[in-house]
């Protein structure tokens, strides 16, 4: 297996876009290709991550469409769908092609244009990930699964609504430094939890989760260009290496999990990624976790092995995961504030890690970042992809 480097990165500003699905994926792809400065080096393959194009945008086979828009014929092309983990899965597919020697250069783009339908349609679309007979028919949505999960974790480990609010406040504050973020809005503990007005400001969504515990619905795209090590060296862009990728699955119906407060797929995916990379948790400087719901940032930080089980909220409280802390989590703003175009999120996490490792993260740069970890959480944790990127010194 060859070593694979990240040679180009780009993304669109997440939010409500007037661009079409096609325009979004083109903008992000062109940004990454330009960043890669490939010159005469051809793009051998294109992988697109997306969840909703067929249903929301009424388009299929969009990777083939992207090849066409970018005139990359006759490059190979696949569209990868893995729910909210589509981005990292597409990255994995692209990585495998280069590592196996089947391609020298692969463009990976994650894209989602959610706001072509209204929020009811959007909620239903996301709910389609739940088990059709055992969950969906009851009116179960992703927030309801997260709500039930949160209640169990809170009762067992003493996590409170205040801890959840601290996650949202931290990520909103972080996003102020991220020009690509969907939401750039300060929120305060007073405004979302303590003031009498908080009940209107922050109404329940799936108790105990409230509005500000849930990420927004966003449009956007994010892209990376992967290249084999020798190609990357010729380009003078051998700075960021794909060190490890791990993936794992869990039961579809959440109630079937033997221990429903454990994110087993996160545990196994992370362990696999660290093993492949030959890395340890204390080597990680920058972390992107999948905070579709604030509770998930806390529990993923434990399941990925950064904190003991049941202590993630204590680390948060101590400020360890803040921008200036010992292990900053979601310096980008996370899904909560950077936004969550479902198919693009996994790629946005990796674009962010790439920028951090290169020193290109502007105002949100974490000094001396050498190793980054991302957790991309599909379904309600029944398919998780973890990725480790590392800086290589030239």
């Amino acid at each position: 297996m060859r070593r694979v480097m990240v040679v180009g990165a780009g993304m669109t500003k997440f939010g409500r876009s007037s661009e079409t699905l096609s325009q979004l994926m083109c903008l992000s792809s062109v940004a990454a290709l330009r960043d890669a400065h490939l010159g005469d080096v051809p793009v051998d393959g294109v992988v697109v991550a997306n969840m909703g194009a067929a249903r929301i945008n009424r388009q299929t086979a969009i990777a083939s469409a992207l090849v066409d828009r970018l005139n990359l014929f006759p490059a190979t092309a696949e569209t990868v769908e893995n729910g909210p983990a589509s981005g990292s899965s597409a990255f994995k597919v692209g990585y495998q092609a280069v590592a196996a020697g089947m391609a020298d250069v692969v463009l990976v783009t994650g894209v989602e244009k959610m706001r072509e339908v209204n929020n009811l349609e959007g909620t239903d679309f996301v709910a389609s990930m739940s088990h059709p007979e055992a969950e969906y028919i009851y009116g179960v949505t992703l927030p309801s699964l997260a709500g039930m999960f949160a209640r169990m974790v809170m009762e067992r480990y003493g996590v409170t609504r205040r801890h959840l609010a601290l996650v949202a406040i931290k990520n909103h504050a972080n996003a102020l430094r991220n020009p690509y973020a969907h939401i750039q809005q300060v929120i305060t503990l007073e405004g979302i939890l303590e003031a009498p007005e908080a009940i209107v400001n922050n109404p329940p969504i799936a108790e105990p989760l409230h509005l500000f515990d849930c990420c927004p619905v966003s449009d956007g795209a994010a892209s990376l260009v992967l290249a084999a090590e020798d190609v990357a060296q010729k380009l003078g862009k051998a700075g960021v290496v794909v060190a490890g990728i791990g993936q794992a699955t869990d039961t579809h119906a959440v109630h079937e999990r033997p221990e429903p407060t454990r994110l087993t797929a996160v545990e196994i995916a992370a362990e696999r990624a660290f093993t492949m990379a030959g890395a340890s948790r204390d080597q990680v400087d920058v972390v992107e976790l999948h905070d579709a719901f604030t509770i998930l940032e806390i529990v993923q930080s434990e399941a990925a092995g950064f904190f003991p089980k049941g202590e993630g909220h204590l680390a948060l409280e101590r400020g360890e995961t803040a921008f200036g802390g010992s292990l900053p989590i979601n310096a980008s703003g996370g899904l909560k504030a950077r936004g969550h175009p479902v198919g693009a999120t996994g790629m946005a996490q990796l674009v962010e890690l790439t920028w951090q490792l290169r020193g290109d993260a502007g105002e949100r740069q974490l000094q001396g970042a050498r190793c980054g970890f991302a957790c991309n959480f599909g379904g309600f944790g029944n398919n998780v992809v973890a990725t480790l990127l590392r800086r290589e010194d030239r």
């Binding site: 500003k13 969907h182 939401i183 405004g191 009498p196 209107v200």
Partner: protein, 234 residues
């Protein structure tokens, strides 16, 4: 021969005694404090300027809402609507949202429009609730007739309060079969949906004396949500 003064009197609707809406302060999710107060006829021109950019935004019926609200505000200013009121939400004096309606009679209110300019902070929810508070608690009405142009936005109020059907009544907004918020339902919903403190501290009130316009671009971008804050449950 009747002078224009008498003709004006013919065309100007009678006016009932309407108690003023006492201003209140609301702490928003951002920690900022919004002042909700009544707007005067003199302030209408600046409100018109604020909503003008929306007259051409088709998405979510913004154009219809803006056009109708524009007319209602003008008519209020020029004494061509009976017993209309306008409330505004101001954050550091900057216009965050506008709601309006009118009193049909002592027992019945007619809700007109709600426009939110500053997104992501539930300003629309707060202002709509303030409107209902005015109708029920200050005008003393028994019920408020409500419809909306945008189906998704309306559905939320329908379910949240909840509203009841009163289809036999044609609402003034296009004759659409009306929904209604009865007084009892308002009081049941009040702990969940109505908030704010009175009186507004002097300094905060002074800062809300003059309406400051958000930039033209800001209004269009904010209201249509382009790069704005939109929550997952809206």
């Amino acid at each position: 021969m009747a002078g224009t003064g008498d003709l004006e009197a013919l065309l100007r609707p009678p006016a009932m005694e309407m108690p003023p809406y006492p201003p209140k302060a609301i702490t928003l999710a951002s920690g900022e404090r919004m002042v909700v107060r009544q707007a005067s006829r003199e302030e209408v021109p600046i409100l018109l300027e604020a909503i003008a950019p929306l007259l051409w935004v088709e998405r979510d019926f913004y154009d219809v809402v803006a056009a109708r609200l524009f007319g209602e505000l003008l008519a209020y200013k020029r004494y061509r609507v009976r017993d209309e009121y306008v409330l505004v939400g101001l954050i550091d004096g900057v216009l965050a949202g506008i709601v309006n309606g009118r009193a049909v009679d002592a027992d019945t209110g007619m809700s007109y429009h709600t426009i939110t300019i500053r997104r992501g902070l539930r300003v629309g929810s707060h202002l709509f609730a303030a409107k209902m508070e005015y109708h029920v608690e200050y005008l003393g009405e028994k019920e408020v007739l409500i419809v909306a142009e945008s189906p998704i936005g309306f559905r939320r109020w329908m379910i949240e309060y909840p509203l009841s059907k009163k289809y036999e009544v044609q609402h003034e907004l296009g004759g659409v079969p009306s929904w209604v918020l009865p007084r009892d339902t308002y009081f049941d919903a009040k702990p969940r949906l109505v908030s704010g403190t009175r009186p507004v501290p002097d300094e905060l009130l002074r800062g809300a004396e003059t309406i400051i316009l958000p930039g033209d671009d800001t209004v269009r971008r904010q209201v249509t949500g382009e790069r704005g804050g939109v929550e997952c449950a809206e």
